[in-house]
Symmetry: C2
Subunit: 475 residues, 2 copies
């Protein structure tokens, strides 16, 4: 892509932005206040880029005016939610304007009869469940970072999470969106409808488009009756392979779809336990499955966890612990949730990935990763959503390696990891997105013809390439 | 659209088609054999149009060659499955080539460990469940016409059906497709992956695109563990409004998501009972709900149907019958399945629609329909998927009306019905598709800007407008 085609944000453009939004909501020429918007949660500074300006609109009409201005002046716009992404998706790699949706944070309509909720994109995801809980309802599409992320970002990235095996990912719950298009038009797509075939599925095209095809201004989400009972189980296995091999059996032999099947290998559990000062009995186990079952009542959940426990034991589990109270559940889940944080303290130099393969291929993936780790002499611990075939893997710099050696070596390790993943019919991202971090690896997983189709849609909807340019693919 | 831009199928083109497929699989210049491909299940001959030629390819490569030839010669191609559609979607309204997928009828891969199946587009939908049953699995996305329709058509139309309230529609189960694009390229999208964010959700853009963006050559579907118990209930109410009003309560108050909530008003039940010589006690009831609950075991299903029964009785049901054996279940379901057939015998002159509104608005829709029926002196019986807000409504010619009066009047009635639907936030099709039958009504339900986005995608992917032109919208 030709970077020079864009213009910088000039004081004249800033004056126009201030006219649209008021002075208070346009930040310009202030590196200190702009810096936080130069990166997301990807730690490596190579993926950061400073914006020229930050804008904080409150309405779809303001966003429309800003997008039209940007097209007129050829300035790129990068939409941004909470900045909790893991692919560089909200980073303004061509400079220009970062458009923050933090002021669009209203829950507009809790519609109990239709079991739906209409929200603005800047609502913190967990607030949705806080708002609908009193009606016995819940939003099932949330990711693990629900306490900090915004729903707009979840929809833009098609966020996954721990409950996808039973409840699906964000996409399943998005019934309608109001979008400002790359041309600055405000368009409604879908609505409070469970079925709707009036035209292409534009709603699902927008979900996961990483802010390249539109900016969400309203989102209609489907809710479900909240489960009335839930139990967590911790199942210990001798080896990762045994743990992983048990996963499809829970569903095919046990006839149960658990809410969650999280896999954690020993290095992951160990790191989190040491970080938390937790005493889960991980020493004896090479790997663990954290399994949740939920349902409409206690009896159903009891039968389900018995079936799951039986399948685990029949497939090589050393032991199965049932967390029958919320304190124990919280202890177990805390280990899972703190793995990423624990590893970032163990070694700040690492490469965090989001591999996904057909669920039954995950044992082969784990075996292959062990071989690659051994070959290069690095640690590649893994944990993640085993039921979905989605593993969060990290290549961790060996403590005795120089930075030069690390920088020279990790790209080759990553390449081998991706080759392995591709050979299993997998992809380089299950839920974190491509952004610009994984863009160059796309051709390892999808055909050039497929990428060219994506480009043709982007060109058709955004001829000036104004909205989040340089993400997923180059035009 | 300029109809003259297309060329007719010439003997030279037929010769090329025969070279690609062999003589046997190209039909040309034979009105009798071509006639069945001039219409789908829409009875009105105004929506029919003869093809110039019919082709029956066996492979993606053959389809690719045909599509490239069609682009070169500017001849339109209309893909066709079983022809069981209800929107004219498979009708070649600009003539040209009908491309029938009936020879692509193999189940390619039953993948038990991944709980997926890979099929060709010409597989009859019910055969999928026949093939996976022995593994304790089932495909949940099927529509009511599963015994005759093809899975390729289901995916092209995003078919719904009776189980959508619990299991969703076809789209939820499509994980991957191999597609021949409008340019004749063979492209893989998605795969055996539960999560995948490598690029826009092209799979879901293709699902429901009515054959205008590509021709499916392989489809990867997600399966679920088959429910091990199921019960049907017939709940009788005095009025349609009472029946309909009970529906959201089953979920919000009862905490149960039934598999099916079918609504049938008295005229619909009566027509089907008379047609079948069935003796369901409909006389006392103005409307009925046919409710199915299923689950992993008998106990769960028992608790669920008790909760559903309680909610129905608390919300005005006269009586609740539980069909605890397959003979009774089959009797009830037979009534539901034969309504359309029964009405087509009562009066062949009718206008069949597929209205969808937010589920909680369905009582208002039924009330409004009654008023419109009264105003014009026609019958507008309705039945359908109440839990989804999706009603199959038909405007039936009054027996004493002349054909002229009917032809003069029905368009105005339909218009009023659509205005009512739109005012409730609804759409003119929930699962049958737009095709060319409902194309002109699209602007009543969606904005011009939205339709223009659809057009821009169609133009980008099919610049010659070769694939199923004139469907959903005009370019």
């Amino acid at each position: 892509m030709n970077k020079t085609k864009y213009n910088p944000v000039t004081p004249e453009i800033v004056a126009e932005l201030r006219e649209i939004l008021g002075d208070k909501y346009v930040i310009f020429d202030d590196a200190e206040r702009l810096e936080p918007y130069s990166h997301d949660e990807v730690p490596n500074p190579r993926y950061a880029h400073m914006p020229d300006a930050l804008v904080r609109p409150r309405t779809a009409e303001e966003i429309s005016a800003i997008v039209k201005l940007a097209n007129r002046c050829m300035v790129p716009i990068t939409p941004r939610g909470a900045g909790s992404g893991l692919s560089g998706g909200a980073v303004p790699i061509h400079g220009g304007i970062v458009l923050l949706v933090d002021r669009m944070n209203k829950i507009l309509d809790v519609d109990r009869d239709n079991m739906m909720v209409v929200v603005e994109p800047g609502v913190v995801t967990s607030e949705i469940n806080d708002a609908v809980e009193e009606f016995g309802l819940f939003y099932a599409g949330y990711p693990m970072s629900l306490e900090t992320c915004y729903i707009g970002g979840n929809v833009a990235e098609n966020a996954g999470g721990g409950k996808a095996i039973k409840y699906g990912v964000t996409a399943r719950y998005v019934l309608g969106v109001e979008v400002v298009t790359p041309a600055g038009e405000i368009i409604e797509m879908g609505g409070k409808l469970v079925k709707d075939v009036t035209g292409y599925n534009m709603v699902q095209l927008m979900v996961g488009s990483e802010g390249t095809l539109g900016i969400f201004t309203k989102i209609t989400l489907k809710l479900l009756p909240a489960p009335r009972a839930s139990v967590d189980m911790l199942c210990l296995f001798e080896t990762p392979r045994e743990a992983i091999s048990a996963v499809p059996k829970l569903m095919t032999e046990g006839g149960v779809i658990p809410t969650t099947i999280e896999f954690m290998d020993r290095p992951s559990v160990q790191a989190a336990c040491e970080y938390l000062n937790e005493t889960i009995p991980y020493e004896q186990a090479g790997a663990m499955l954290l399994i949740t079952v939920d349902g409409a009542d206690v009896q159903q959940v009891e039968r389900e966890y018995e079936a799951v426990g039986e399948q685990c034991l029949a497939n090589g589990a050393i032991e199965v612990f049932v967390a029958d109270n919320s304190t124990t559940s919280e202890r177990i889940w805390s280990v899972r949730r703190n793995i990423a944080e624990a590893f970032s303290i163990v070694s700040p130099e690492q490469c965090n990935e989001d591999l996904v393969v057909p669920p039954a291929a995950i044992a082969e993936l784990v075996d292959g990763m062990e071989k690659i780790a051994e070959k290069y002499g690095v640690a590649i611990p893994s944990y993640g959503h085993a039921g979905d075939g989605n593993l969060h893997t990290r290549i961790v710099k060996a403590p005795d390696w120089s930075m030069d050696r690390w920088e020279d070596t990790w790209p080759g390790i990553l390449n081998e990891l991706f080759e392995l993943t591709a050979s299993l019919g997998g992809r380089c991202s299950g839920e974190h997105g491509i952004g610009h971090k994984r863009k160059k690896y796309m051709p390892m997983f999808v055909s050039e013809g497929y990428i060219e189709l994506l480009r043709s849609i982007k060109r058709a909807m955004d001829p000036n390439n104004i909205l989040n340019p340089g993400k997923i693919f180059d035009v």
